[in-house]
Structure formats: C-alpha cells, structure tokens
C-alpha cells in the first residue's frame, strides 16, 4: 500500500529510482523461484502479440509505402532508382521498423498493462492477491514482462516484412519490378550486422514496454484518476525508453561493427 508522505521532489525522484530497482530485482527473483505461470504467459503472448498484429501490420505497411514514395524522387534525380529496394531495406530493418513498431507497441501494450494493473490496484485486486498468500509478481508481472520481451521482437520481424512488402507495392505504382527481384535486392542489401542488432534492440524494447507498464500499474495510487495517470505515464516513459535504448544500441552497434 502506498503511504503518501509529503517529501521534496528530489527525494521522491530518488525514491522512485529505488522502487524501480527493487521492482526489477523482485521480477528477476520471481523468474527463478516458484512455479512459472505458463498458462498466463501464453494468454499474455496472445493478448500482446495477436491483438497488436493488425495495428503493427497496417502501420508498417503504410510506412513502407510512404518511404518509397518519399525516397523515389530524390533517388531518381540522382539516377539511382534501382537503389530503392536496398535503401528501403537497410533503413527499415536497421532503424525505422524497430523504432516505429516499438513506439506503437509502447502506445498499445504499455498503456494497456498500466491501465489493467492500475485498475486492479484501485479495486484492491492486487491487495487481495497479495493477502491471500498468492504471488502477484509471479502471476502478473513476470508473465507480462516476459511476454512483451518475447512478442515485441516477433511483431517487429513481422512488421518489417509487411513494411517491405508495402514498399514493393508502392514501387510498382510508378515502376515495374517483380516480387522475386525486389526481395532478392532487399535481402542482398542486408547482412548479419543489420539484422542481429535490430532484433536484439527490439528484445530490450519489449522488456522496457513490459517493465514500465507493470511498474506504473503496480505503483499507481488508489483512485480512479490514477488509472489514467498510470496508463499515460506508462506510454510516455516506455516511448522515452525506446529512444534511449535505440540511441545506446546504435552507438554500441557502430563501435562493434562499423569501426
């Protein structure tokens, strides 16, 4: 239960950091102790993955189309229209796909987890689980964080494929290129150093989305207003974390592969 005690902002900030570290340690401890909630994990994978697929698919498709339409005039002006599939694949796989899909997932999944757990807190469901002797961290937190960590990379891979297909359709509006040739060029443009870092950073995106959503939900105050605050705060914080993780990932990738 939150004990509201008036304290200076800096102290609250440090307390928040401490709470998050404690929450993380509790999460890690609960992965390895007690029985893993497989059925809840699978349910969360379905909720998080399947129910976000349509949104991720449509957005990725549109991004692929728009990128081709935006890139084409510039590349044509330089006589490099044949570079369009390569340019799209590298930019989409390395950066645009993971970040856009990460942001969409932050909006959809982190808010949904924050609101769900926040409303469970408000309606005393978390307390009820806790005082019954059950383990809410194991049932609610571990399953959700692992589900987002597992599903966001999967959504990202699917979104990348759909985005590249959108690029193919957009390219065929003006030019004519076969699907086989297009994807041959797309795949030829990519190598290990494009794919692996992109997938690894989406794993961190997924973790951040799940962690922030769960933490904001669990740490919300008792009042209906706090459910909205938890959802909103989860989206903002998770989105911010995605950019921070992306910046770190780009730097690490550059140091490891491009120097």
């Amino acid at each position: 239960m939150t004990e509201d005690i008036a304290m200076p902002a800096w102290k609250r900030w440090f307390e928040g950091i401490g709470d998050q570290v404690a929450f993380f340690l509790k999460f890690v401890k609960n992965i390895f102790t007690g029985g893993f909630e497989w059925s809840e994990f699978v349910r969360q994978c379905f909720e998080i993955g399947y129910r976000s697929l349509m949104l991720v698919g449509i957005t990725s498709f549109i991004m692929g189309v728009v990128l081709i339409l935006q890139l084409r005039p510039t590349l044509v002006a330089f006589g490099a229209a044949s570079m369009l599939p390569k340019t799209l694949s590298v930019s989409f796989i390395r950066e645009i796909g993971p970040v856009i899909i990460g942001i969409i997932c932050a909006g959809k999944i982190a808010s949904s987890i924050g609101a769900e757990l926040g409303s469970m807190k408000v309606t005393e469901q978390l307390d009820a689980m806790d005082v019954s002797g059950a383990n809410p961290t194991q049932y609610l937190v571990v399953t959700r964080i692992l589900a987002t960590t597992f599903m966001v990379p999967l959504l990202s891979v699917i979104g990348d494929a759909i985005g590249l297909f959108g690029g193919f359709l957009a390219l065929n509006l003006r030019d004519s290129i076969s699907l086989q040739l297009y994807f041959t060029k797309v795949i030829a443009a990519l190598d290990f150093t494009d794919l692996l870092p992109a997938i690894i950073k989406t794993i961190f995106f997924g973790f951040a989305i799940g962690f922030v959503g769960c933490y904001k939900g669990f740490s919300s105050n008792k009042g209906t207003e706090s459910v909205g605050v938890a959802a909103n705060s989860a989206v903002v914080t998770a989105s911010l974390w995605i950019f921070v993780i992306d910046a770190i990932a780009v730097q690490v990738t550059s140091l490891l592969f491009y120097n």
Binding site: E3, T123, Q125, G133
Partner: protein, 262 residues
C-alpha cells in the same frame, strides 16, 4: 476531542477455549502528520467474532491491514498465532496469510476471470492443489455455501454488488482460513442482502470455527455477527462490550451509535 475509555463488560464467547489468535499491543500508525492509530490494544480469541465500529477515517481498516502485514506499525506489536507480524520474513508472512482470509469492501474479484477461475485461483496458487476433481468439489461447495452455485461461469462484471461480495466471500473461505477479516462487508448493499451477508458471516464462524474481526458501520450486521463490539474513536478504542451492553450505554458517544436501534 478528549475521550474517556469506558469498558462495559467483556463478554467472551463460550466456545473460545481462551486461546488468543491475534494480540495487538500499543499499536501506533501515522501517515505523514496524521496519527491514525494512537494506542490500539486488542485480543481476538479463537472462535470469537469481534465487530469494530467507528466513524470513517478512525483507523479501523488500518488496524486489520496491520494484522495481515499490508502495513507496518510505527510502534507496538501485532502478534498472530504468537508470532510478531512485523518481524516475519516474506516467506513467513506468506505462510501466515494462508491462514487468514481478508474480505475486501468491494469483494476484489479478479475481473479478468470467471467466478470459477476466481475460486480456483487460491486453491491452485496458494494451496497448490492439482487434483481437478478436488478443486471442482471445493469450488462447488464454496459457491453453494454462499448461494451462488448458478453464477459459477459468470464474469464479475455480470454480478450485482451483493453477488460480488458473496463471490468474494466464497473465494476467501475456500482455503478454510482460521482467521477472517471483513472490511465493511455490507457497505453499499440493500438491507436484505446485508442481512444475508451478516448471516453468512455467522454461519462461517459456526461451521469453520473461524475467529473474525468485522469492520462495519452496519449496526444490524454488528448485532447479528458480534460476540464482542469495540468502538473506535480518534485512533483509540473508547468502549468494549457485547452488543446488548453497549446498546444500553449511557455514554453520549457510544449511545450515538445505537440511537437508531429499536
């Protein structure tokens, strides 16, 4: 406000055997500058039902939250089955909570689960039962005992307020706790449903031999379910006795709780 502590009798239930299951001594709890509990002393005997009456914000719920370790006392001790709750490890607290049932004001049903799944939850997660026949039998029995057998596959959102409370009660008693803590079990219910819940509380005490602390504003619930009544005012108990004894009190504050009782 200056209050004088008065003791009007100290009736104990006949079948208690005298064993104290909850012993609170000198309990103090503050939230910032607000001193909610100032000096609480309470003994709950085995098989006894204690009702705590008091105005909103006097610390009734805080008292029972200290018993299950949801809140840590600032001063004083809360002993359950002889063990100090604030000195327990996480694992010990978890074990203790298996013996305590806590009915929340709202029922606190898990709203993503059906009534059946709500009742199965403590059986599979707390008691770690794996035999599905045993689980089904206990779920059926618990729901029948609260008159909700027909609602087994309903979602909490499809239940009325009274049904939600009864389902919450079924989920709490399904693990057969030794101590029951009720946080305003009849608040927001119509008089008939309130009476049904109060009768249920009494029947649970008789059937499962539980010891209970009931926080309520409902005088009918207090009359039906109590062996002993405590009146709380400004973070302290100001009166203690049986319902009949307190209802005849000449004290102004105590009398104000009973003035509408015919």
């Amino acid at each position: 406000m200056e209050t004088t502590e008065i003791k009007i009798g100290n009736k104990q239930p006949e079948d208690t055997g005298g064993e104290t299951v909850v012993c609170i001594q000198g309990l103090k709890k503050s939230f910032g500058d607000k001193h909610v509990l100032k000096d609480i002393n309470l003994d709950l005997k085995r098989g006894e039902n204690i009702v705590i009456l008091g105005r909103s914000g006097t610390g009734k719920s805080v008292t029972i939250q200290c018993i299950v370790g949801m809140l840590t006392p600032d001063e004083g001790s809360v002993k359950v089955f002889g063990q100090d709750v604030s000195e327990m490890s996480e694992e010990e607290l978890k074990e203790l909570r298996k013996k305590i049932g806590f009915l929340f004001q709202s029922g606190a049903l898990f709203d993503s689960m059906t009534v059946r799944e709500n009742l199965e939850f403590p059986l599979t997660r707390v008691l770690k039962l794996t035999d599905q026949d045993e689980i089904d039998r206990r779920v059926k029995e618990a729901l029948e005992s609260v008159g909700l057998a027909d609602a087994i596959d309903k979602m909490p959102s499809d239940l009325s307020g009274g049904m939600r409370k009864r389902a919450g009660l079924a989920r709490t008693i399904i693990v057969e706790p030794e101590i029951m803590l009720y946080d305003e079990p009849t608040t927001g219910l119509d008089p008939i449903t309130s009476r049904e819940i109060s009768d249920l509380i009494l029947s649970i005490q008789k059937k499962q031999k539980t010891s209970s602390i009931i926080i309520t504003h409902d005088m009918e619930c207090a009359r039906i379910a109590s062996d002993r009544v405590l009146i709380m005012e400004d973070g302290k108990y100001i009166a203690e006795g049986s319902f009949d004894e307190l209802s005849n009190s000449k004290d102004e504050i105590v009398g104000s709780y009973f003035k509408d009782i015919s």
